[in-house]
């Protein structure tokens, strides 16, 4: 019962995103290196940025808006503190 209460509180506080693992999401653009996705970790990384949901989406938006793409490239999985 106590665990249920904690879980319910967490859900109410919007914590589900915090349970997301640092696991790459499927990428629409199979030719792209790596992955990009709406991971909780990276959404929190810079909350005021709008991170594209995929590399393809970022590239399409850049082409449409005549901008460059800024890739935050990571190699391997760092824990959140080290990022």
């Amino acid at each position: 019962m106590k665990k249920f209460g904690i879980l319910a509180a967490a859900l109410l506080l919007g914590a589900p995103a915090a349970f997301a693992q640092c696991t790459p999401q499927p990428v629409e653009d199979s030719a792209s290196p790596g992955e990009s996705g709406p991971l909780a970790k990276w959404d929190r990384y810079v909350e005021t940025f709008t991170w594209s949901a995929s590399v393809l989406q970022a590239r399409q938006a850049a082409a449409r808006n005549r901008k460059l793409v800024l890739y935050f490239m990571i190699s391997g999985n760092l824990d959140e503190e080290s990022c």
């Binding site: 290196p33 995929s54 850049a62 901008k67 793409v69 935050f72 490239m73 391997g76 760092l78 824990d79």
Partner: protein
Amino acid sequence: MRTVSFLDPEVRARVAERFECAWINIDPQRRYPPGLYKGQGRLHLRNATGADNIALIFATPDRKVLHVLPGYWDPRTILAELDFVQALRDAVLDDRTRFKAGAPEAFDRMHRDRANSLGAGSEILRNVHRRLTWEALRRLDDWTRADAAALVVND
């Protein structure tokens, strides 16, 4: 980067205004031990720390890499480099983000001039600019962690 540079209001504003942002993991199988930089402090990382595991890469929509900042960089340096990227973009790309005639020469000249303009204490960044030549220009797909790390190695 998370707790310092990307929390800087000017960095956030300039990035949001000028770029479409995405993150990529080029080696998702690699795992680092937790607390890799523990004890180094939030404000005491040297520039280019972690050059072999994080990098900011500026690329055209068709993935041509224009500039790379391997590792951690302080907000002041990032702001200056964001301005450099903007100037480089204007010099080598047309309104449709395609390379202009004369782009190779402009690309090399601008990176070289930027390298030469950097003062003492910016040796690492100078190395980065010197190594980013048109000849070395490549598509994002071809970048490896070794490439990014190699940019900051002293001559």
